[in-house]
Amino acid sequence: MLTNILPLIPIMLPFFMAVIMLLVGKRPVKHRAIAAIGGLILIIVSAYQVFFVYQNGMYVTYIGGWEPPFGITVVIDMVAAILVLTTSIIVFFITVFSFQSIGEPREKYYFYAMVMVMLTGINGAFLTGDIFNMFVFFEVFLLSSYILITLGGEKLQLPEGFKYVLINLVSSNFFVLGLAYLYSVTGTLNMADMQMKIASYEGDTTGLTIVAIVFLLVFATKAGMFPLYSWLPNSYAAPPVPILALFGALLTKVGIYAIARTFSLFFVDNVEFTSTIILVLAVLTIISGCIGALAYLDMKKVIIYNIIIAVGVILVGFAIMDAAGSIGAMYYLIHDMLIKAALFLLIGVIIFRTGETNSERLGGLIKVHPVLGWTFFIAGLSLAGVPPLSGFYGKLFIVESALDNQMFIAAIVVLLSSLVVLYSIMRVFMNVFWGEDMDFDRLKDVKMDKMMFSAISLVVIAVVFGLSADFLYPLFEMAAQSFYDPASYSSYLLEVQ
């Protein structure tokens, strides 16, 4: 009974919260209360899920009582449980942050309801065990992201939002096309069943490699990989900071999760080819992200290009897909979700206080906001992966596994990218907090206690995550096993058949 209800709470609870908000009508204060309470419940439930999975191994529920491989399954393995927990923590703090920053007009137009629908889609994409269902959940969170990116209808938002919608629409159509190919090749849609069929098939699997490239095209667009990231910086810079933080912390990571999941389960026959392609693209992604991060002084843009660097680093780990590589990629994925959200919220506080996004026009803020400044400093160090902060462990494992597999260029690029990240963030830090004092009269008198609370809490969580990385190692080892040993993911089918 418990295992029946538990897996569906992360999907259904945000949906119900959104429906209740729609029922309540345009009353922002009630929306805030519902979003905060629901977010807290979700954190508790998903934390319990992590504990439950750690104790009992992964568990599965069959929707509608249809047994796999015919029905839709909801599979909670360690990867999904950890990702859902991180997502709910981030969404909770971003909703608290937006109490003071998003503004009444947007709140009235169901901002929180849209965030909750997006949470439904993201959690669903993490938890589902059916590849077509994953497409449906992708569409759920993409639809709400289309609304969020254009909510408010500022002059900059609309054309950038249109580009974002168009790019994602085309890639979603390719997703359907890839699903069609995959279905015609394997004759099933259940991910575990598909893994077993492909693993036991002994014939020619060249067709699957073509399907792999279609899937890579789709997920690379969503994740912002090298040739297909060009839509990302401008589209993400258009909406206000809370929405930007949501997108930057969560949406690209769902694309990465999908790449890791599909390429570990389905496209395992021509590993040399697929992993080489992903590795080369990941390295190029890091390099192009570095160029962008160095080129801009705009705070939003610097951190947006840092997303692209992080995408590349995580994908280096998933491209190698051995034990150390997957563990490192999992560590870095979680670290990056937390610290990116924290950094976006921190620059959000600065932007709301000063009304400027260009770091060159600011200076000397440390005299007014010492806490904010040092928190930003710690977050920057953590992002760059200075030990013992959270970015270090992920990069350690990734570089270790790259060196073990004689991929020296990838290892060197990952290491050098840390320097670029550190330089770009510290340049922002020095411009904003040190240097010549700006005109402090220009500071806007805004209430910012909730904004500060959520930004600093996220940094604290990221730091604690970094310090307790050793303690959490068993969880991540368990999570990474789903990737480098895909048979463990599909083992639940053996009990059914």
Binding site: L166, N173, L177, Y296, T357
Partner: protein, 113 residues
Amino acid sequence: MELITIILAGILMGAAAYLMLSKNLIRIIFGTAIFSHGVHLMFLTMGELKRGAVPVLDENVEAYADPLPQALILTAIVIAFALTAIILVLALRIYKELGTNDIEKMKGDPYAD
């Protein structure tokens, strides 16, 4: 039969690509709609056309057509419907706010400096 539908899907996608590369917002939206039609047609072809009877349980029928692609296409059509609605409203808002439906005239990156 399969060959014909595949060619038809290809023609639709080609037309969609042509429309999506134009500058007019409305043409782009029609392009996305036609693109999704091409993809759905391709999906239908992947489920093997004309093999067996309608997938409704019947005593006299031995072989059934594969119902799964049809169910999936139905889902995909519903999603494409919602997307088209959203993108149409968005295009209308853009036309109202910016006074143009030409992609070229919407340029302008305020972060360029």
